[in-house]
């Protein structure tokens, strides 16, 4: 087992080496043509919560720090300076100071200074006059007291308590630095950044165009003259467009496993990879009202899940079983397999699990003659609907008759927020493979995205303990303990962690698909075309 893991880690470490070795000498020029799966609501990364925005607009910006773009696995070790030249923690670990790069200019020619850093994070913390229309990641900065500047090229984050993971959050594709002098409204329609590509136009439902920034502060980069994203909502048309060579690349991590086989068959020279996307498919349970206020019924439901069947049907075996944190080798924080299998419902003998589940159901007053009828709510999107159907089928084995209740996107969140559901099938994406982001966002008492209102004060203490722990090994142990407890409490049973495919034409070089996040690897400054 150990050797398998070592091999997997070695393979991951070798990926960048393979990448460089296969790339050759980069060439300048060319427009990279990519199809886009939908029309984003706006161009403002800070106001949206979908990688439909990160992919086309991350190349417009820089962060203070960033995950190294040619390393597939995001980790603390892969964080490199971006607009910051260096960073340092204070001795008490409550102050993180960045020395900023000098001579950097915004795309409109104005100079970048520490004021822009302060502006950006003041706005994210809701402390500035200017406000975002939406601010979905405000909670990321809950431990930040304020951001202070010292001169034009130094900015510090002052924290309430140590939070080493702050650096990981700042390295995400979701954390670009915005200019002070451009309003949030303008950033939604015509963003200005310091990044390798300048914004040209965003025509809703049509296209997004970027052009090379000739004054980019990294000399010689980017290699491409520009990028064009054609918005094609029909997946078949988009894939045919790629196969016919009209696009250089598919929309990253958007090709399903069955479609990938088609692509490889019709376009055998295409380079295709399948990677974890750090999006879990899970069940949200309304534990505040009958029948799921009974822990026995919730546990029975968790025991009835045959995860391998889901993965076999939907992903032809190419997805992962795990707890809240993304499983290894892609994920950094997942509990070991042996520990995972001790959690009820994760054991290999599904029949034994279901037998135990039936006993729990009978204890709760249900059985073959008195079946429990419930509606299983989910969004009217295939990636939600398909697993919901399988879930309904599996629940039949423990006297639960589920009925699919498909909800339009416009009504999904309000339905969940007013607890107008018994069971729901949900997808949870994690922008950063770090417990702070996942635990606080989805399981913390009072968090806006804690859809099930799960609240456990003991676990809350552990959240804080792991968050402050600077020793990675010790932190991992606490994280595993938390993750195990969350699954045992049936807080939000995780069914599987999905994987998805990305393809590009053989002449496109320098693409790296991240293995533990689908939000952070789209700077594209190193991408070039060997044409």
């Amino acid at each position: 087992m150990r050797s398998v893991r070592t091999l997997a880690v070695a393979a991951l470490l070798l990926l960048p080496a393979y990448h460089v070795a296969s790339a050759g000498e980069p060439k300048q020029g060319g427009i990279l043509k990519v199809y886009h799966r939908d029309s984003p609501a706006s161009a403002s990364i800070h106001e949206e919560a979908t990688y439909s925005v990160n992919i086309p607009f991350m190349p417009v910006f820089n962060n203070l720090v960033i995950y190294k773009q040619d390393v597939p696995q995001n980790s603390m070790e892969s964080i490199v300076p971006d607009l910051a030249e260096s960073w340092a923690w204070s001795d008490d670990k409550k102050k993180l100071t960045f020395k900023l790069r000098q001579g950097v200019k915004w795309h409109d020619g104005k100079p970048f200074t520490s004021a822009d850093v302060k502006c950006t994070f003041d706005m994210l913390m809701g402390k500035s006059q200017q406000k975002f229309r939406k601010n979905p990641r405000k909670s990321w900065y809950d431990e930040v007291v304020d951001v202070t500047t010292s001169g034009d090229f130094e900015a510090s984050f002052n924290l309430k308590r140590p939070q080493p993971a702050l650096l990981a959050l700042l390295a995400s594709g979701y954390t670009p630095v915005y200019p002070c002098h451009v309003s949030p409204g303008d950033m939604r329609t015509k963003p200005t950044g310091t990044g390798p590509f300048k914004f040209v136009e965003f025509k809703a439902n049509e296209s997004i165009k970027l052009t090379r920034n000739p004054d980019y502060w990294k000399k010689g980069l980017p290699y491409l003259d520009g990028m064009e994203f054609t918005i094609i909502t029909n997946r078949s048309t988009a894939i045919l467009g790629f196969i016919s060579g009209q696009f250089d690349m598919t929309f990253p991590t958007e090709v399903s496993i069955p479609l990938l086989k088609d692509v490889k068959k019709q376009s055998p020279n295409a380079v295709c990879v399948v990677e974890p996307i750090n999006v879990s498919t899970n069940i949200i349970v309304n534990s505040s009202s009958p029948p799921f206020d009974s822990l026995d019924i919730r546990r029975a439901m968790a025991l009835a899940i045959d995860r391998k069947a889901f993965i076999s049907i939907l992903f032809e075996g190419q997805a992962d079983i795990g707890g809240t944190m993304l499983p290894a080798p892609g994920g950094l924080w997942a509990m070991p397999k042996e520990m995972l299998e001790t959690i009820p419902g994760y054991g290999p003998d599904i029949n034994a699990n279901r037998e135990e589940a039936r006993k729990l159901m009978q204890k709760a007053g249900f059985g073959p003659d008195k079946r429990l009828a419930v509606k299983v709510a989910t969004r009217n999107i295939p990636i939600y609907r398909d697993p919901a159907i399988i879930l309904i089928d599996q629940l039949k084995s423990i006297y639960i008759d589920g009925e699919l209740d498909v909800v339009e996107t416009a009504n999904w969140f309000s339905k969940v927020a007013r607890k107008d559901y018994a069971l729901g099938l949900n997808l949870t994406g994690n922008a950063v493979d770090d417990p702070d982001q996942s635990f606080y966002e989805n399981y913390s008492c009072g968090s806006e995205r804690n859809y099930t209102n799960y609240c456990n004060k003991d676990i809350e203490k552990l959240f804080s303990e792991q968050s402050q722990e600077t020793d990675v090994a010790k932190r991992k142990k606490i994280v595993w303990e938390i993750d195990k407890k969350l699954q045992e409490d049936v807080a939000r049973p995780i069914i599987y962690h999905g994987r998805s495919g990305s393809c590009w034409q053989p002449y496109v070089k320098g693409i790296t698909i991240m293995v533990n996040s689908s939000y952070n690897g789209y700077r594209y400054e190193d991408v070039w075309m060997d044409k």
């Binding site: 919560a49 809703a204 054609t230 909502t233 016919s244 996107t409």
Partner: protein, 315 residues
């Protein structure tokens, strides 16, 4: 005639007022608005932020106030702002109109230029193998969904030519320029051509049995003259009615065709706007479509008199 036109114009005005009220109310009856969707897309909801945005977009005002604000703006040429793109609605809608107009025009042209001659041929050769073959073609046109046909065309195109005719605002060659409009127009116009063909056939069969056709033949008129000058001229009225109605129904077919061929026209834009509950876009686009349909029907009614001198519009 003049009194008829005035009466019809007045009726059209009342119809459009009615449509505007129906659109406006129906849109707001549908659960969820743009704010719900924006916040849902962001995966969280802050009640204060949500209320602010609703106020900013004018959605917290009473529905009557919202309606008169829209109509008032419409009368002054101000269509409001798209909630999603934050650009003037007119600026969003205008560039898309010529694209859909070209597509719809070509589809109707295809429908008439294929459907009418084939309908005549089928009627003239009634009961022959040719007639059966044409009837099978027309039946398949009525039964094949345009999205399926569109996808089939794209797949065949990729497989045979290694490329496909999806929309490109800057076509490199004239063949590409023609293909990006003509191929989708054929896909969407196929159903309409099939219907036109069937109506033309049945109408022609009825006319060909009439006495004046026999008289024309007895007088020595050629078959072409009998079929096209005498019979078709009298059989065309129901065909024109159907083409007029098809013009209205075309928008439904265009929605899927524009999606499959990735054409940035108003039909696909309307669906996207509806998905986002982008009221200013949806209201104005549906009104635009209503105006086109109402005028198309009005034009068809006027054409009757031009084609058939027996028709008189009395007071």
């Amino acid at each position: 005639m003049f009194a008829y036109i005035v009466r019809r114009l007045a009726l059209m005005f009342v119809t459009l007022i009615g449509i505007s009220i129906i659109i406006f109310v129906l849109l707001r009856v549908v659960p969820g608005n743009i704010v719900d969707i924006l916040f849902d897309a962001a995966g969280f909801v802050d009640p204060a932020d949500k209320a602010n945005l609703e106020k900013e977009l004018g959605l917290s005002d009473p529905i009557v106030v919202q309606y008169f604000r829209w109509i008032g703006g419409l009368l002054h040429g101000d269509l409001g702002y798209s909630y999603v793109s934050e650009k003037p609605a007119l600026q969003e809608i205008l560039p898309r109109i010529p694209i859909t107009a070209k597509l719809a025009g070509l589809a109707l042209l295809f429908s008439a230029s294929i459907g009418i001659p084939l309908g005549v041929i089928s009627a003239v050769h009634q009961g022959t193998r040719l007639d059966y073959a044409l009837r099978i073609v027309s039946l398949s046109g009525l039964s094949l969904p345009s999205f399926w046909l569109g996808l089939l065309i794209l797949m065949a195109s990729v497989s045979m030519f290694g490329t496909m005719p999806i929309f490109n605002p800057n076509p490199k060659t004239w063949t590409e320029a023609i293909a990006i409009y003509c191929v989708p127009a054929m896909a969407v116009g196929f159903r309409s051509a099939a219907l036109t063909m069937r109506i033309t056939r049945s109408s022609m069969l009825e006319i060909l049995r009439q006495d004046f056709i026999r008289t024309a033949r007895a007088k020595g008129a050629s078959e072409n003259s009998v079929n096209y000058r005498h019979a078709l001229k009298n059989a065309i009225l129901p065909v024109i009615t159907v083409i007029g109605i098809e013009a209205a129904f075309l928008i439904g077919g265009l929605i899927v065709t524009e999606t499959v061929f990735n054409i940035p026209g108003i039909a696909r834009f309307l669906v996207e706007a509806l998905r986002w509950r982008d009221y200013p876009i949806v209201q104005n686009l549906v009104m635009l479509i209503a105006v086109v349909v109402v005028f198309a029907n009005f034009t068809v009614d006027l054409l009757y008199a031009a084609i058939d001198p027996r028709i008189r519009y009395g007071d």
